[in-house]
């Protein structure tokens, strides 16, 4: 490979051609401040608009300072990253930015994790020469949607969110609009996110360096529900939470904290601490049965059967196809997501068991996800206006609650989930990452279809972090073609193939977030560090290995559920309680024949 020699801060370094000054300096242990720049290693995500100019450096022979994040190293370049001229320029940039930024840190949801705040601290900004006597600043209405709060007064126009929404997700809900002072990232016609194609995946929130994009915070609602003596609180925790929550307490990325998490929820005072893994096993029973049903009809020569079957666990993905591919809405499995299956069972099966009225139960979920907040508010998931899942909090919000309650998380003794909605298998925990849902489905569908024990349990061919993967699994002589996509741009590619008739998959798993739920919009912030995602990913499969039972259909508590309550998978009661339907929500322009 071609390399280049240059000098940075009086030290020589050799780097591959094409390396930016920023990355060359990083290799030498020099951290140049940045703000707009964002790189998500391993996920092929880059934001390099070169717009904020906080990263400027001095290059000998050039008149102007150069932004290090977009300037490539050249042979024999001489770079200074810390001259007083550079520092003076960076301070000016920062002061200008802060002059149009509210001094809201005391109440800001990002406080302590905000990159702008960190820079103001690093540069010791105490006063601001650019703030006029009248403190004139741009002013935008704060917008609250089911999942996301947008406070554009705090936007620094780094455009990371726009990049995530357009390049990673190809949703196109967000774009830079206007110019000059009023310039901001917003939706078409500045409409509410609710009226845009936004999927609520939360990937924009996950990369926003400041408090401009944050999740709807439901922690106060949790406290009120627990305090209310007339309510029974039932909590469920999604698989991906247990491999990430520890990070919020300084634990190593990839620490599996299931036992401590359970203990913390009990210490917080929830009446019943259950597991979304339980309903993930239930999802497999329903979705797997549906897959086999469609397959059998297909093999029987039925030309109308809808294949490939697409998974439907991810509400952001559901939003995506409802908005962008409504013509394919008969393909996804009708099985509800594990969150909603849990809610439906908690407020029927379990409520009957403990003799609790629906209205007296508050069902709360802890999710790695922002779309789940939106999902539990969908009308199909309510009975007489009462939602199956009352509301959802993120991994980050749970960490905040634990801190408020003075719980020393790292020292907590491990505890177990309550029974019966807390028993689960290894197949359920792998729902937390890309490839996991389909692997869990294969473990069960194989055995149900062939009537034999599956010769293996670890389907390595379905695992990995590449955006699109495929494998053929031999169902004892019947080859089943499986596709997997994560990140909506990859989902889009498979959907275009289906539309073009170029797809020979029988089943496709799709998750909206890159990496799947381990990198959901509600997880601890990773700041573009792909190693963190990798560690969570490994932890998911480790957690699977550590489970005594690893196939959903062998979960004894799910077997009891069918015996006592549901009857059989995809039976009458299941259809009523565990399945759903989808809508065409695409905006289309039609000819008006009346005028």
């Amino acid at each position: 490979m071609d390399t280049i020699k240059l000098t940075i801060d009086n030290r020589e370094i050799e780097v591959p051609k094409g390396t930016t000054i920023l990355n060359a300096a990083k290799q030498m242990g020099i951290s140049i401040p940045t703000l707009c720049h964002f790189e998500f290693k391993g996920m092929d995500v880059h934001n390099r608009p070169g717009g904020c100019r906080l990263c400027v450096v001095e290059v000998a022979g050039r008149r102007n300072l150069a932004p290090a994040c977009v300037t490539e190293c050249m042979p024999d370049m001489v770079v200074r990253t810390n001259s007083m001229r550079v520092i003076n320029a960076r301070r000016t940039v920062l002061e200008l930015m802060l002059s149009d930024h509210p001094n809201d840190c005391l109440q800001c949801a990002k406080s302590g994790k905000c990159e702008l705040q960190a820079l103001a601290i690093r540069f010791g900004i105490r006063s601001n020469p650019f703030v006029g006597p009248d403190h004139a600043q741009s002013s935008y209405q704060i917008e609250v949607s089911p999942s996301i709060i947008r406070d554009m007064n705090k936007c620094v126009m780094c455009r990371r969110c726009e990049m995530m929404c357009n390049e990673m997700q190809t949703v196109g809900a967000l774009s830079a609009i206007e110019r000059g002072f009023p310039a901001v990232v917003s939706t078409a016609f500045n409409q509410h996110l609710d009226h845009s194609p936004c999927t609520f995946c939360g990937q924009c929130v996950a990369v926003c360096p400041v408090g401009a994009l944050t999740e709807v915070d439901n922690t106060a609602k949790v406290i009120r529900a627990i305090v209310d003596p007339s309510k029974k609180t039932v909590v469920q925790v999604a698989p991906a939470v247990r491999v990430a929550l520890g990070e919020e307490f300084g634990m190593k990325p990839g620490s599996i904290v299931t036992g401590k998490l359970t203990a913390a929820l009990k210490a917080l005072g929830f009446d019943y601490v259950f597991d979304t893994d339980w309903s993930a096993d239930l999802t497999i029973m329903e979705e797997g049965t549906e897959l086999l049903g469609r397959l059998k009809r297909f093999l029987g020569g039925d030309k109308d059967v809808k294949l490939p079957i697409l998974t439907s666990c991810c509400p952001a993905w559901v939003n995506f196809f409802e908005h962008q591919f409504p013509e394919l809405k008969e393909l996804p499995s009708t099985a509800k997501s594990p969150q909603q299956m849990f809610g439906a069972m908690a407020k029927s099966y379990f409520a009957e068991k403990i003799n609790c009225k629906r209205e007296d139960m508050v069902c709360i979920s802890v999710m790695p996800c922002l779309a789940k907040k939106y999902e539990c508010g969908r009308d199909e998931f309510k009975v007489n206006g009462n939602p199956d899942v009352d509301f959802s909090i993120t991994t980050r919000e749970l960490a905040a609650l634990i801190k408020q309650a003075n719980i020393d998380f790292t020292k907590l003794p491990e505890e177990e989930f309550d029974s019966p909605l807390g028993e689960s298998t290894g197949a359920a925990v792998i729902f937390g990452t890309t490839g996991g849902v389909i692997e869990a489905a294969v473990r069960t569908a194989y055995e149900v279809y062939t009537g034999k024990q599956c010769p293996k349990i670890d389907f390595e061919e379905l695992r990995g972090l590449e955006g699109i993967r495929s494998a053929t699994i031999d169902f004892d002589g019947l080859p089943i073609n499986i596709g997997i996509a994560h990140g909506l741009k990859n989902a889009r590619k498979l959907l275009e193939d289906i539309k073009a008739g170029k797809c020979n998959f029988h089943a496709i798993e799709i998750m909206a977030c890159p990496g799947g739920c381990i990198d959901g919009g509600g997880q601890p912030l990773h700041h573009g560090n792909g190693d963190i995602i990798k560690a969570r990913w490994e932890a998911i499969y480790q957690a699977d290995k550590e489970m005594p039972i690893r196939k959903s259909h062998e979960n004894p508590s799910i077997q009891t559920l069918y015996k006592e309550f549901l009857g059989e998978p995809c039976g009458h009661k299941s259809h009523e309680l565990l399945h759903t339907h989808y809508f065409d929500r695409q905006t289309t322009v039609e000819v008006d024949l009346n005028k």
């Binding site: 357009n166 609009i177 016609f189 929500r585 905006t587 289309t588 039609e590 005028k595």
Partner: protein, 165 residues
């Protein structure tokens, strides 16, 4: 959670589709498509932007991003009598700003807007080549020169009266 359907007159949608086709529905031609659509409609309503986004396969937010970025695009329909106040150098030094202010007050709109009756729209523009008459304003294509703020009311009323007949 219903499908959002935007209705459009057939002749309008046909014309926009024709413009998009003329540029091969290429996303890179967005600005040209917007220009020609605005030439045709006089402005760029949200429905037109939705349709262009659909034809060019780009997100509507991106189309709106471009429309809101350039000052020569407008989402306001032009009034029956468009008013343009010249802000060229000659007019400017002779008090064009005060003339614009007077129109703003008289019509109750800001530049780029149209009044609620759809009668007047207000814009400012660069030198119209009548510097000798500075300051200058155009109303429905007619040049009014050597203006003083005090003249504005009379001019507006003249058109209001004319419209009543």
């Amino acid at each position: 959670m219903d499908k959002i359907i935007i209705k459009m007159k057939k002749e309008v949608s046909d014309k926009i589709i024709e413009i998009c086709d003329r540029f091969n529905n290429a996303p890179g031609e967005l600005i040209n498509v917007l220009h020609q659509t605005q030439d045709y409609l006089g402005y760029l309503p949200a429905e037109a932007q939705e349709l262009i986004a659909e034809r060019l396969h780009i997100p509507t937010a991106k189309v709106y991003g471009v429309v809101s970025f350039y000052s020569f695009f407008t989402m306001q329909p032009k009034g029956k009598y468009p008013v343009s106040v010249c802000m060229g150098t000659a007019c400017y030094v002779r008090g064009a700003e005060k003339i614009l202010d007077a129109f703003e007050k008289e019509l109750g709109v800001m530049p780029g807007e149209t009044d609620k009756d759809g009668l007047f729209s207000l814009t400012s523009l660069r030198c119209v080549g009548a510097c000798g008459l500075a300051p200058v304003a155009l109303v429905d294509g007619k040049v009014f020169g050597r203006l003083a703020p005090a003249n504005v009311k009379a001019i507006v009323n003249e058109y209001r009266e004319m419209d009543k007949q």
